[in-house]
Subunit: 245 residues, 2 copies
DNA sequence: AAGTGGTCTAGACCACTCC
DNA sequence: GAGTGGTCTAGACCACTTT
């Protein structure tokens, strides 16, 4: 699930067209109806249609070509959702894998300095949730989440075992907005290595992220340890027009 | 460098504000002038100002807060350019490191199947450029580029030693638009391992990418092999409003 | 010439924050 | 209430592709 926040027109239109692409009502290699036709279809102005199409462009679902139209791109379905902020649980649903989550810990702890660095004060405590994710019984990811209070006071066990994001957005009504993410490859402590059943070299892919609300409040720090042989990060990126030189 | 394509108003405004943020004329934690003030400042309509601010929002430079204003975010400078399509050469300039590029090969070759898969026909030939990137004499990245003809017929040696992107955009006038990228960790062949001076385990971070022009023509396939101990990928991502369930 | 997307405008109304 | 951003509109003019 995650965000049915499509209250406004442009978001509803974007969502609707996205679904039609997903269900191949609009197919890769074909053009969407022209903006003018979409105006009639949805009964809205052209700028609103264009804002909806901008969202699809940003996602990599379409490419607009001047004089021609909006081309539906051929992005393999398994590469969605790409990049962005997406939880294991959501990804799981989308890809239809059989995954389980085991909650190993849930208690207040001091945020490790490596995670806190540059984001929150050192020595701050937070609700620490440790979860081991398995696919077909094989451990794939170990998630170490640190949830800041405020805005998060407690997390029910069911939410920890399921999707934290869904709980935050749906139950708490938090407005999750953006995140910074850093991917490295590092040797990890023995405990983590054994949980993930790593080889002798103890190398894991470490994804550290900081997630913020719309009002810029940081609320979640995460370190995810991935088995290197099962790790895959897929990204779609557009060339930006802004340069910094 | 790269793309001074800021011919239109919204891009110029976005670029101008971005530079003012970079030079701390607008500082993290402070608000930008209001949209109304920016209208006066740049002599444009509010929607145009808003489109410029949208670009900055997408980049992670600002966060808009309703009723308050546009807050300049505190993204450490070393994390720019974030994500997106950014070449080694550009990154190098931005970070001011001392790096060298050694061109090992430049000849026509068949595109390896792993790279071609899902993007171009198997068995297709392309201009293969192999480059070893070093920082302070230490090998960091091995780039295997395959450039498709058309649109690329040849690449001068100077361009290969410098920035391919700069050559494509500035000299050839190509309109680079988007790319898909995939990051994995894999054991690599002995030759690559020795070029990168890897440990006994021969593990490297492999970034495979496919880059497209604005007219959706694929033109560049790349496999980059990174030393795991020097690899770092930094990303800024916004929560999307479109869901696929 | 007709149809497409690209850009910009001036204005309207709303929701939220702050005083 | 005044100021902020969020959304939407109707229309204009331009650049490009197609026939």
């Amino acid at each position: 699930m995650a965000r049915d926040n499509k209250k406004n027109k442009q978001d509803s239109i974007a969502q609707d067209i996205a679904l039609k692409i997903q269900h191949e009502q609009y197919q890769p290699g074909n053009l969407l109806p022209s903006e003018h036709q979409l105006c009639d279809l949805y009964g809205s102005s052209r700028e609103t249609i264009r804002k909806a199409l901008d969202q699809l462009t940003e996602l990599g679902l379409i490419q607009k070509i001047r004089g021609k139209g909006s081309l539906v791109l051929d992005i393999q379905r398994f590469s969605f959702p790409v990049s962005g902020i997406t939880s294991f649980q959501e990804l799981n649903k989308t890809l239809g894998m059989h995954a389980t989550t085991e909650v190993l810990q849930k208690k207040d702890d001091i945020v490790p300095d490596v995670l806190a660095k540059g984001h929150v004060d050192f020595g701050r405590t937070a609700l620490h949730i440790e979860r081991l994710r398995k696919i077909d019984q094989i451990p794939i990811v170990l998630d170490e989440d640190y949830l800041l209070n405020p805005p998060i006071t407690d997390v029910p066990d069911e939410a920890a075992a399921g999707s934290l994001y869904e709980y935050f957005e749906k139950s708490l009504g938090l407005d999750i907005s953006y995140a910074t993410k850093e991917i490295t490859v590092e040797p990890v402590p023995e405990r983590i290595a054994s949980l993930l059943a790593l080889n002798d070299n103890n190398l894991a892919v470490v994804v550290r992220s900081m997630t913020y609300l719309a009002d810029t409040t940081p609320f979640q720090l995460t370190a995810s340890y991935h088995r290197p042989d099962r790790f895959k990060f897929i990204d779609f990126a557009r060339r930006r027009k802004i340069s910094f030189n």
